[in-house]
Structure formats: structure tokens, C-alpha cells
Assembly symmetry: C2
Homo-oligomer: 370 residues x 2
DNA sequence: GTGTACTTTGTAAGCGGTTACATCGCGCAC
DNA sequence: GTGCGCGATGTAACCGCTTACAAAGTACAC
């Protein structure tokens, strides 16, 4: 059922030329007489020849493959019906990356790193020989290991801590996002006491968001309730149970909960409703990401829009740029975010075409080292 | 900044053995004296040697990579804020596949086929030399092309038309799903006239679902309104606008709309609300997939649960089984679905822990050819 | 001590391409 | 007619690893 496919030797023989000429014709190099070229191409056609990318990669060192590595939480996808952690956003990034890669002629090699499995590093290293560059999502490995890998192939860090000596870093502007959110909550709604729902522990994005929010609130004379920083795990189920626990704990609620992503916000709203609280009348809730479905929720979610697809695309662009030597290494790129005001913060919006008031920031390239 | 990494030659030299011995030690083959083996491994350690998988693949024919190809709709991910078509479900499949592949030691090579770009076939063929097997999602290419590729490497079709002479097909039990849904809508709620919201045109899954629904309703004395088969595109925005158009057209609505997936159901509910109809009081709506967020909607969505992750896992398993010669080729595997009754069909549920009444089917292996 | 049968190790030929370098033909100026 | 230069093609080495086959080493029985 599986034949062994024709090689360039077969093609050369059939066309009556040497494999060097066949190779040149295949790569449409100059210095091949048009008539010869035609002969070779005809032979390829007849034999249904497909160049073997692995052999080509071994010999030329160019694989036309980009690696993308993301974190997988322990039980992800193993249990029927369990909510998949951090789904959605990561996937959008992946899609963006894949689609851009395809445009540029690359494929994407996906690889997940189990978060409590240190063997991830060795499988990462293994990729090193098969791909032309690596995109690492959200703190897959430590800076030291990044440096080690980056000595072998170009690396782009996505949503990492924000700085790396050895790799290009691309992240979203969490600071600007939290500033505009704080501005809105404080100035427009007059909220003074705010809570936060965090993603997975040690996630750089989640961390950056708390810190930025704390600063932004402080600057505006409001406060982040340290006791109302709830630990969840990026999932709506996690958001729901974190909020249930908070309610069980009792005590006065803050006027608003800022959530580190939309899924958790949805879970939080659900738990609040279940506990007898109306959103936004009793407590306001905001999200982050602006995933497609949030606008269909009730109340429609006020959130921060970031383009995961763009993150992925920019990552691929940056990587490919390093191949061409176009880009300086160790650059940090910060992508813009946009405040999307809908109803869950307490604003009233036109229900017919939900929430599109915005307060944005622009794309910033933060610095260049050599 | 990028050194050329050590090869097995360097290792061999350092350990004072031949490359053959180094290779044997690397692959922990028998017939290597323990002391020699130790020497070699020590050398590998000192040099930070990482085997080059490409060279290994070229020489052994085994790449430890599985290809997964999916459809990308035209504008997917290109426009900031545009809803990503068919997101979620496909991604869950991808995650399931990746996670299972990783368990078995494989990586996943992602590749999307642009739906109106016929060059997809050639890029698919290119993969043929780099991967050990291919998973094709939802009608990426025609049967003839499948056959062509399957002559070169093993192929698994996911959610395809359901039968292929040349490849293993894995799909979800749309018939059983629609039967239990029809049963519920007709017997429990007494609905007689039903509408349908379809996914992308020519999608085998969407098609199978309409047909199965039509049959199932007919058998129970109810009817699928042919004029209420709305064409959408798997997205909630698509569902919303399809329903808006339907409402604009006027005429009496059916008692229920069955949607080919959850996202569209959410859009449909939104449009119905906007049009002044209450769900489920005026019109019932059901979904398909049971994506994580649906249970947090209001009303919580009655839907069909299928495990995308399992689809992905089973696909990988089937592929790997063919490598081992364990599996007969051209087998069709049908995965079970489960009716999840929540509120959008008109049932009332416990709001505290939403909807888990079920009517399932079991895993079926449909046939074996040789 | 020598022969036999294993084990352990080495040599070298691929795997399917790319590419440096050598070779061949041919047109053209002299 | 000879020599030169250049474009078109061929030869063979190489990319880093696996593996068939040959060779060498070891152990044991005689």
C-alpha cells in the first residue's frame, strides 16, 4: 500500500541528465538551458516526483519549519468534558502563527511542554535540529535554557516576562491595558476598591497584569484589595470556583473584579449570579482578551482587546526576519491593546450592536540591544 | 551567535570509538559493552550533544512527526477582531492530537489548507516526506487526492464524509446525536416543526447532521422545515446574521432551531433576543459540541457533547497503530455523542450546577475492509 | 595451544538532496 | 585555424545519522 516514492535520481535518469542538473532545474536556478529544464520538469511530472524536504533540509540546513511550544496543563484534554485550560487564546495565537507561516512558506511544528515535567527541555532541544526557529509561549522554560537554545537557533518569546538577553520578546502592552481599565473604572464609575482574578500562578502575563493594575489604581487614588486577589487558572470553571470560595469566605465585596482573561470573567459572573449578586449592579466584572463569544454574554463583557492572531503573526515575522538578517537580535516588541467597553463594568450600551467604545494604545517598539 | 552543534562524529572522537558504536550507544542497542556505553554517554554529556532528528529521519525513514491539516477560511486571523471561524472545536481536536502524540513520542506538524487555494495539494504532498502519517480534518481534499497521498504514507480522515477506500476514517456519531435530539424535542417538548442552522457549505459534518435530523424527525412524525434551513458558517456572528435575515424575511418561526454547533447557537439566541423573541419560551435553540463556555450562557445551552480531544487522540492512536501494523487499513471508527439537556430547549434545570441530564450512545466500530 | 562461537567494534554504503569544482562545447576575436 | 572565455552540465563530496557486513576480541572446550 505504500510505494517508495521517486527520488531525484529517478528523475535525472528519466530526463537523461545528472542529478545536479535535475536539482538545478527543480530549484529553477539560472544556468540551466530552457530545453533541459523542460525535459527535467516533464520527467518530474510523469513520475509524480515530490522533493523530499528532509533530505533537502539535511543538506541545505533550511527546513522551512518553525517550532511553536506551549504549556499544557496536567490534565488537559484527558478527561471527557473537563474544560480545557487556557484554550482559546493560545489557539488564536497558534492560528495566527500558522497562517502567517504558511504565507511565508513555512509549516508550524507544534509541541507542548508539560508544566510539571522537566523532560520538556530535552524534547525542546530535539526540535532544535528540525526547525529553523522556535516560538516559545508564556514561560515555557527559564532564561538560562532559553539562552542555551538561542545559541543554536533563533528564538522568539511570546508573552514572556518581557525581557530576555538572548531572544526576541513579543508581548502585549499589559501596562497600557490596565491603565485604561483603571482609568475607566475609577474616573467613569468612581469605583475605589477593586479585586483581581489571576490566571495560573507564575504566568508572566497574569503577574504583569496584577502589578500594572495595582500601580494604575494607586496613581488614581483607588486601591487593589490585596485580599481580593483570587487565584484561578485561566479557565471559567476556575474563575467560578475561585469566586464561590470568595463568597463563602464572606466579607464585603469590592466594587469591581478585574479578571486576567475573559473565560475566568465568565465563570466569575456566573458564581456571582449564583450567589445572589447582580453584575454589574452589585459588582462590576471585566475580562481580558476579547474572545469572540464575550459579546454575546449577558451582560456583555467589558474587556481588553488584544489580537492573539497578531501576536502569532508578529512572532513569525520576527523569526523570519532574523533568518534574513534583517532584524537585530534581542529586541522587544510590545503590541497594543484596546479597551472595549460593554456592559459588565456598569456602562449601558446599545444592545443591538454590542459595545464598541474604545480607548486604545498604539504599537510600541520598546528598545534595541545588540 | 549560532554555533554549529556537535555531531555524532565529535562524540565518537571524544569517546575514542567509531561513529557506529556511538550511534549504538545513543540508541541503547544491545551489544555495546557497558563500559563503552558509559564512555560514549559521558562524551555526549560533555559536548551537550543533541541528536539531529532530520539526519536520523533521512537515514531511518522514521521522523517521529505526525502531520495535521485543517481548513482555514479565507479571512481567518487576518483582520483584527474578526471572529475566527470554526475556532474552538478544531482547536480542541488539535490539542487532543498533540497531547496524545507527545505521549507517544511524536510531534505534530500543523498545516492549514486554504479553502479556495488549490495549491494546497502540493504543499500537502511536500509534507509527505517529512512526516510519518497524516491527519486530515473535515474535507481538506477530495477522495482521489486522499488515495494518492495514502499510497505514500498512512492517512487518517477526521470528520470526513465517513467513508474512504484508502484511509482510516474517524468521525462522530452524528446520526445517533440527531436521533436523541429529535427524540427529546419531539417526545419531551412536543415540537413538530424544526429549523436548522448549517455550518459551512459542503462540510460533511454539517451535511450529515441535517440529513440525520431530517430522518430522525420524520420517523417521529415531526418535520424539518426546508425553508428554515439557514446557511451560516460555524461562527456565532454567522449564526446571528443568518437568524437576523430569517427574521427579516418574516413568516412564522419553527418551534425550535437545531444548530450545527454551539457558536452558531449562541449567535442565533442573540439574534432572536434582539428580535424580541425569548429563548426557549418563544423558540427553542440547541447546539452541538458542548464547548466549555456554553453552560455559562443564559439560557444554558442544550447541546450534543462530543469529545474533540478524543477525536484527536483516537486519530493519533489509529495512525500509530498502522505504523506498527496493528491496525487494518480502511477502517471506520465512529465516536459516541451524548445529549446534554440544559435550558435552551425548554427544560428547566437546577441553576446551581447546570444541566447534566444525558442520553448517550456508545463507541462503535463500524466496519472493516481489507 | 588451537578452534569455535559469540560479543563487541569498525568500515563503509546508503538515505535524497545541494553545491563546489571540474569538464565540456561552442562562439568569437585574432 | 587556434586560443580564450563563458555558459551548460557532470562528478563527487557532504549534510548527520543508521545499519549491513567484516573484522577483531573474548571465552571456553578440547
Amino acid at each position: 500500500m505504500v510505494d517508495s516514492p521517486p527520488t531525484i535520481y529517478d528523475v535525472a535518469k528519466r530526463a537523461g541528465v545528472s542529478i545536479a542538473t535535475a536539482s538545478r532545474a527543480l530549484n529553477s536556478l539560472a544556468s540551466v538551458r530552457p530545453s533541459t529544464r523542460a525535459k527535467v520538469l516533464a520527467a518530474m511530472d510523469e513520475l509524480e516526483f515530490v522533493p523530499n524536504m528532509v533530505a533537502r533540509g539535511l543538506s541545505s540546513g533550511k527546513h522551512w519549519i518553525l517550532g511553536l511550544v506551549y504549556m499544557r496543563s496536567v490534565d488537559d484534554g484527558n478527561v471527557l468534558g473537563v474544560e480545557e485550560a487556557s484554550l482559546l487564546y493560545t489557539d488564536i495565537v497558534i492560528r495566527g502563527a500558522e497562517s502567517r507561516a504558511a504565507e511565508l512558506g513555512y509549516s508550524l511544528l507544534l509541541s507542548s511542554a508539560d508544566e510539571n515535567h522537566p523532560s520538556g527541555m530535552s524534547s525542546l532541544l530535539r526540535l532544535t535540529g528540525s526547525v529553523d526557529g522556535l516560538i516559545l509561549l508564556d514561560r515555557v522554560i527559564g532564561e538560562q535554557d532559553v539562552a542555551f537554545i538561542a545559541r543554536r537557533i533563533p528564538v522568539v518569546l511570546l508573552a514572556g516576562k518581557g525581557d530576555s538577553e538572548s531572544a526576541i520578546t513579543i508581548r502585549v502592552d499589559n501596562e497600557q491595558a490596565m491603565r485604561s481599565l483603571a482609568e475607566h473604572l475609577v474616573s467613569v464609575h468612581g469605583y475605589q476598591r477593586i479585586g483581581f482574578v489571576a490566571g495560573a500562578s507564575e504566568s508572566p502575563d497574569s503577574d504583569a497584569r496584577v502589578h500594572a493594575l495595582r500601580d494604575a489604581l494607586r496613581q488614581r487614588g483607588a486601591t487593589l484589595n490585596e485580599n481580593d486577589i483570587l487565584d484561578a487558572d485561566w479557565t471559567s470553571a476556575g474563575g467560578e470556583s475561585a469566586m464561590r470560595e470568595r463568597l463563602a469566605r464572606g466579607g464585603p465585596l469590592p466594587e469591581a473584579f478585574v479578571c486576567a482573561n475573559d473565560q475566568m470573567a465568565i465563570g466569575v459572573v456566573y458564581a456571582l449570579n449564583a450567589g445572589g449578586f447582580k453584575v454589574p449592579d452589585d459588582v462590576a466584572v471585566t475580562g481580558f482578551d476579547d474572545i469572540a463569544l464575550t459579546r454575546y454574554f449577558s451582560p456583555p463583557l467589558t474587556t481588553i482587546r488584544q489580537s492573539g492572531a497578531m501576536l502569532g503573526e508578529v512572532a513569525v515575522d520576527a523569526l523570519v526576519a532574523t533568518f534574513n538578517g534583517t532584524e537585530d537580535i534581542a529586541r522587544t516588541i510590545v503590541l497594543p491593546t484596546e479597551l472595549v467597553v460593554r456592559a459588565s463594568c456598569g456602562c449601558t450600551t446599545d444592545t443591538a450592536s454590542p459595545g464598541d467604545a474604545r480607548g486604545g494604545s498604539t504599537m510600541v517598539i520598546e528598545g534595541e540591544r545588540t
